[in-house]
Symmetry: C3
């Protein structure tokens, strides 16, 4: 095991910020996909996969580095946890995009666009916050805002489910749409998990 | 960071017991909800949410305290894990109640009431066991009994699924009911996860 | 950093290899179940449960031992994580078998057999790799191959979902089949989780 005693390796913050920036790309590709015709969606889902692979690469760089460095700027487990949770955000958004294409869903309810807008806002706030882990700057504000967004996403999700089941006539169409809507909700939950970890880190390190 | 060298902070046991008591309230509200007409269910689901928020507050108190105390009466990770797992029990029961209201499910099979009875028993045993973490008293008995209840819940769940699919004529009604039944099974699993952690703690500390 | 005071306890490697061998049995029982008539499936599902219980017993032996030994040949958390993840592989395969019986599914698409073939290969490679944790021999090769198999499983899963929804006429049959197919995909993911942990361990220990 190589020891690196000085100075503390700050590449971690850059890599975490990089994964978060890929989620910003992912969320805006999802928004683009929703606004496109079925013919164009396949190509957009491919770009979404590219963003997902890029996030994966950055996550692997963090894992490799964690196993080779002795001194880390945050607890090893916290860095590992943040990278995994950011990766979960990306994976869920990628899955939602691919399901829409795979299931050939023609039209999605308006509230699905609102779910994606919540995800876009979550991704932007997270990408802004990651570099601030360095100096623990304005992290509580970010955590409060993500929690507010997650509550908003949760309400949207429940309203959507209520509407979908009230109007449902085609059970197969319902199964498809429900999976998309549930996976988008999982993406919001994953962003909240990132924010909860940041809150814990901010408390410990301050 | 404040150091508290003596004596060991026992507030953790009180807070864990508090979350567990909220799950007792939650399970009995679920039972009440099942026995009520659709008109009354909304108000009961609201009270279930209040119990869920109260459990959330207690969980957050534990997390904050963990990040500010140096000496803890159990391993930090074990306290964190127990609080999270207890919170999962509460979340799943809250979700089940809200889905029943949201999906406007008129009648539920008898076996769903039996699932909830298993949850009530799990919650009571867990609330009894949490204070005994202090002196590691009679914990193996509690773990064995929860494992027995989880097996019973598992059998109920499989029997219910079999019945539901055998009798199903309305696929949309089936989708709704299956989600409720699956979430109740997740709640039982979460109680088993708590008991498994307690078993591990009892082995380590004894 | 670990102190190694006495000969390292290598029983852990034997027990991990044992759980992995139970997953080999489980995967081949699943393949047998798929190839059998509905009448014979019940008995095969019972044998699947026996393999699951045996894996459970080995997992519990590891947990008990972990709580009573001071010196372990790998990080305590890594052994715990590997045992849990191997157990998840077994649980998902057992659940898939039981769902096929419970839901009385007559015929399964050809691609489901291919999903199970991927699982058989994953299980065999994992059972071969576990004893090599002792000397960290040829672990990268195993990890690369499991990742390739998981990608193959993922493609199979998406293709299957696409086919199923394209052809679906009976929504209730679709719900049943989708659950089986999703649980088989979870089993493949669980094998990938094992391989990712092995990769991390190999990096740390080398």
């Amino acid at each position: 095991m190589r020891l690196r005693l000085t100075p503390r390796d700050t590449t971690y913050f850059d890599l975490l910020a990089e994964i978060a920036r890929h989620t910003v790309t992912g969320a805006s590709l999802l928004a683009e996909l929703l606004g496109s015709s079925r013919l164009d969606r396949h190509a957009i889902a491919e770009r979404l996969s590219e963003a997902e692979h890029a996030a994966d690469d950055a996550t692997h760089s963090i894992m490799r580095r964690l196993n080779q460095t002795f001194v880390t700027p945050l607890d090893r487990d916290d860095i590992y946890g943040l990278a995994s949770a950011l990766d979960d955000c990306m994976d869920a958004m990628d899955e939602a995009g691919h399901l829409i294409v795979l299931y050939k869903i023609e039209e999605l309810p308006m509230l699905v666009s609102e779910q994606v807008q919540v995800l876009q806002r979550c991704a932007e706030l997270t990408a802004d916050a990651m570099p601030r882990l360095r100096n623990l700057d304005q992290l509580p504000e970010y955590c409060v805002e993500i929690n507010r967004l997650e509550n908003q996403g949760d309400t949207l999700h429940r309203t959507l489910l209520g509407e979908m089941f009230d109007r449902a006539t085609d059970p197969i169409a319902l199964i498809k749409l429900k999976e998309v809507v549930d996976v988008l909700e999982e993406a919001t939950d994953a962003f909240e998990r990132v924010a909860n970890m940041v809150e814990t880190i901010a408390l410990k390190e301050s």
